[in-house]
Symmetry: C2
Subunit: 448 residues, 2 copies
C-alpha cells in the first residue's frame, strides 16, 4: 500500500497545511475559554468527517471532547489522543509573526499551537484521509479522542473516559506529543510522571507590621521557609516520611533503553547556563534520576515587598507553589496525606495546604510489542528508529487510560519548537513525515 498513500500525502501537503492554518487561526486558549473553544471543536469534527470518519462532539461541564471512529471491522484498533486547546500567546511583542495568523518561513510554520498540538492532530487526520480518499480501508479500526482542556490539566477528561471505556480501549495508542531531539533523531515517549501540586499558605498576622516588630511578632515568611526547607535535604532526598515507600526501581528493559540514550549533557548545561546538574550527577546516574526518580520543586514563592529598594515590612502572609513529580505506583492521595502529616509533625500546623491537585504516573512497558510497532513505523517514515524514553519527566492525563490502551507518544515537533513560548513552530517536513508515520503505525499494528 505504501507508494500510493505516500504520494497522496506528498501531493496534499498544501491542503493539510491549509487545515492546520485554519485551526491555528481559532484562538482556542483553554485558560481563556470563550466561543473559540466550541468553534475549534466544530472545526476538528469537520476535518475528521472530511477524512471519512464519523465524528461526535461530546459536551462536558467544560470544553467539549471530540471523538471520531472509522470501524473497518479489523482485528486491531488504534487510538489517537490529541487536544485542540492551546496555551495563551503570552507576550505578543516576542512573536515575530502574530500567534494566531500562521506564517511559513524557511520550511517551518509558525503559530500558537502548531507544535502543541494542532500540527500533530492535523497530520494524523490527513493520514486517515490519505487512506480513505485513495479508496483504501485502513488496516486497523481508527479512533480519535480530541479534548479541549489539556493545557489546563484536563479537568473533565476523567468523566469522559469513565463514560466511554469501551471506545477508548484499543490495541495501541498514539499520545499527543513528541518529535525530533537535539541530535535530529526522532524520540518516542512511553510514559508520564505523576504529580502532586500544592499551594502552601501561612498567615502570621492579621495585617503587615513594621519590620522593627519582627523581634516579637511571628513571621509568616520564616515559617514558610522552614516548612519548605523541611521537605528536602541538600542531597535532594525528600524528607517526608514514607514518600519513597512505593517507588520501584527501573526495570531491566528500562535500564537497557536508557543506556543507549544520549542526553547531550554538555549541550544541556550550556542551554541552561549551569556548570553541573544536581548533586554533580552525570552519565547513568543522571539518567536514572531523570527517568526513575520523583522530585520536589518550588514553582514560586511570594511574600512581602518585592519592588525595588526598601520597604520596612514584616509581611503578614506568605505562600509557595510546590510540585512533587511522582513515579509509577506512587499514589498522589497518599503523598498528599503524608505531606500534611509531615507538616503537622514538624510544627507546621499553621502551614495550610490551600489547594492541591494530583494524578499518578503511567507508562507503557519498554518491551510492549506496540513500542516496536511504532519504532518500525518511525523508521519507515524518518529513516531511523526512534530513541525510546521510558517516561517523560512531565505529567499528563495518560494515567486515565491505564489498562485500556498502551500509549506511545510521537509527534511532529523538534528541539526548536518552543511549545508554550513565543514563536512556536514545526518543520513542515516533520509534519508530512508524521502523517506518513501514522499510516505506517496502522500497518505495523495490523501486523502485530
Amino acid at each position: 500500500m505504501d507508494e500510493e498513500i505516500l504520494s497522496f500525502i506528498d501531493n496534499h501537503t498544501e491542503d493539510a497545511l491549509r487545515d492546520l492554518i485554519h485551526l491555528v487561526r481559532i484562538p482556542s486558549v483553554a485558560a481563556e475559554g470563550g466561543d473559540s473553544m466550541e468553534r475549534a471543536a466544530e472545526a476538528v469534527a469537520k476535518m475528521l468527517e472530511a477524512a471519512g470518519m464519523k465524528a461526535t462532539i461530546h459536551p462536558t461541564s467544560g470544553a467539549s471532547v471530540v471523538t471520531a471512529e472509522l470501524d473497518v471491522d479489523a482485528k486491531r484498533t488504534l487510538l489517537f489522543y490529541n487536544h485542540y486547546d492551546v496555551q495563551p500567546a503570552g507576550d505578543l511583542d516576542m512573536w515575530d509573526s502574530p500567534p494566531f495568523e500562521p506564517e511559513i518561513r524557511d520550511g517551518r510554520i509558525y503559530g500558537r499551537g502548531v507544535a502543541d498540538n494542532k500540527g500533530d492532530l492535523v497530520s494524523r487526520i490527513w493520514a486517515v484521509r490519505a487512506l480513505t480518499e485513495s479508496g483504501l480501508d485502513p488496516p486497523v479500526n481508527v479512533r480519535f479522542v480530541v479534548e479541549g482542556e489539556e493545557e489546563i490539566s484536563s479537568p473533565h477528561l476523567e468523566e469522559f473516559v469513565r463514560a466511554n471505556r469501551d471506545f477508548v480501549s484499543a490495541d495501541g495508542g498514539i499520545w499527543e506529543f513528541g518529535g525530533e531531539g537535539l541530535d535530529g533523531r526522532q524520540e518516542a515517549w512511553l510514559g508520564l510522571k505523576g504529580i502532586v501540586y500544592v499551594q502552601l499558605e501561612v498567615r502570621g498576622l492579621s495585617h503587615d507590621a513594621h519590620s522593627s516588630m519582627s523581634c516579637i511578632l511571628p513571621s509568616a515568611a520564616y515559617t514558610l521557609v522552614r516548612a519548605l526547607d523541611s521537605l528536602k535535604d541538600p542531597e535532594e532526598n525528600i524528607l517526608i516520611e514514607g514518600f519513597y515507600d512505593d517507588v520501584r526501581p527501573l526495570t531491566e528493559p528500562e535500564r537497557e533503553a536508557i543506556a543507549v540514550i544520549d542526553v547531550h549533557e554538555e549541550e544541556m548545561k550550556h542551554h541552561y547556563g549551569i556548570d553541573q546538574f544536581v548533586l554533580g550527577l552525570s552519565g547513568d546516574a543522571l539518567k536514572e534520576r531523570y527517568y526513575g526518580s520523583p522530585s520536589c520543586n518550588i514553582r514560586g514563592i511570594t511574600t512581602g515587598y518585592q519592588g525595588p529598594g526598601s520597604m520596612t515590612v514584616l509581611p503578614a502572609e506568605a505562600s509557595a507553589k510546590v510540585d512533587f513529580r511522582l513515579v509509577e505506583s506512587q499514589d498522589p492521595e497518599t503523598i498528599l496525606r503524608l505531606l500534611r502529616k509531615h507538616l503537622d509533625q514538624h510544627g507546621f500546623q499553621n502551614v495550610k495546604i490551600a489547594w492541591s491537585e494530583g494524578y499518578p504516573a503511567a507508562k507503557t512497558p519498554v518491551d510492549h510489542p506496540f513500542v516496536e510497532a511504532v519504532s518500525r513505523a518511525t523508521e519507515r517514515a524518518f529513516g531511523h528508529r526512534p530513541v525510546i524514553h521510558p517516561t517523560s519527566a512531565g505529567s499528563g492525563p495518560l494515567y486515565l487510560f491505564r489498562g485500556l490502551v498502551p500509549f506511545v507518544s510521537v509527534g511532529c515537533g523538534d528541539y526548536d519548537s518552543r511549545a508554550h513560548s513565543p514563536n512556536e513552530s514545526i518543520k513542515i517536513d516533520n509534519f508530512v513525515r508524521s502523517a506518513k508515520r501514522a499510516v505506517f503505525v496502522m500497518d505495523e499494528l495490523a501486523k502485530m
Copy 2:
C-alpha cells in the same frame, strides 16, 4: 515666663495650623523628588525666619538641609532634628480627604506628613516664635536641622553632619517623632536600633525551565530557602557565627525603665490577630527582647510563578530582602562581613548579596540629665511624665549624632496617627501642647 508664652501659643493656634497646612500642601515626597522638595525647603526656611531665627539652605547632592539658629549667648544649646520630606501618599482611594489638602475633622488634622514629621516641625518653630514675638529671649541657644531625605534613609545627612559638627553639637536634642501611646500617656524614645538590610539573590539557570526538569536541574528557589533557613533557628537564635559577640545586656537603669512600661500585650495581640508573641514570650522577657535584642526579618521573597492557578516552572532565579536590626555596639559592617562568611561557609557561595545598607544603633542613657529635663517639660505641658522607652525597635540616622548631642524623641503623634498610611493625622490638642513642651524643654535645659 510661663503664662505669657502659653497664652501666645493658645492665641496663635490658627496661625500655626495655617503654617502646617501650607507645608502639607507641598507634596515633598522624597521617594518621588521633583521641585516640591526645594519648595518645601524654602517654605521651612521662611517659617524659621518668621520665628526670628537665621535660616540657611544647604544644598547636598540630594535634597537640601535647612538649618536655623537663634544664638542668645546662653550657656546651653538645644538642637531640634526634623525632616520636611514625607512618605508617598499611597492608595488615594484609601484617604477620606486628599492627602495634600489637609482637612480638620473632630479635633484632628488629616494629611500626608502631619504626624511624620511636619506637625512636629511646625509646633517647634512656633515654640520659638512664641518667645521671640513676645519679646523674650529663649533661655537657651536654639538650633534646627531639618533634612529632606529621612523617608529614603537620609543618604546625605552624614556628609552634612560631618561638615557641621560644631553646629550640631548641643547639650540636648529633640528627635523628630513621638507622641501619645495606646493608654493616652506621652512616650519618650531614647534611641533607635541599627540595621543591616540586604538583598539576597540566587541565579540557578540562565532562564526558567519546565518544572519537570527539577529532578536534574539546580533550584534557585531551594538554594535561597536553605540560605534563609540557615540564618536563624526555630528558637529565633541568629546562627551567624559571631553575630551576638558585641551585644551587651540592658543596663540596670534601662531594666528599671522598662519594668514600669506597660506594653499592652493583649491589645497588641488583638491588633495583630495573634495568639502569642514569638516563643510565647510575655512580661519582662518580651520587653527585654523588644528593647534589647537584635532580630532577623524577611521583608520579602520573590521567585517563579505567583499568579492564580498553576504554571509548570522551575524558576531560574530567586531573591529575598532581609533585615537585621542591631542593638548598640553591634557594627553593621562587621555583621555584613559575618553574613557573607556564614553564607560561604554553609555552601551558599552562589547566594549573592546584591546590595546592602546599614548603620549602627544609638541611644541616650536612661539616666542622662536631659532625659529628666524632657520628662519634666512633658509633665508641665501634658500633666504627666512620659513613659521612657530606652530605644525604639525602629532605625534611623540618630547614630550620626553620637557623642555630639543627647537626643530624646518626643512628638505630637498618637496611637491613631497612621504615619506612612492613608488618613495620617494628629490631634490638634497634642500639636498645641507639643509647642508648649518645646518651650518647657528650653526652660528645663537652661536649669540643667
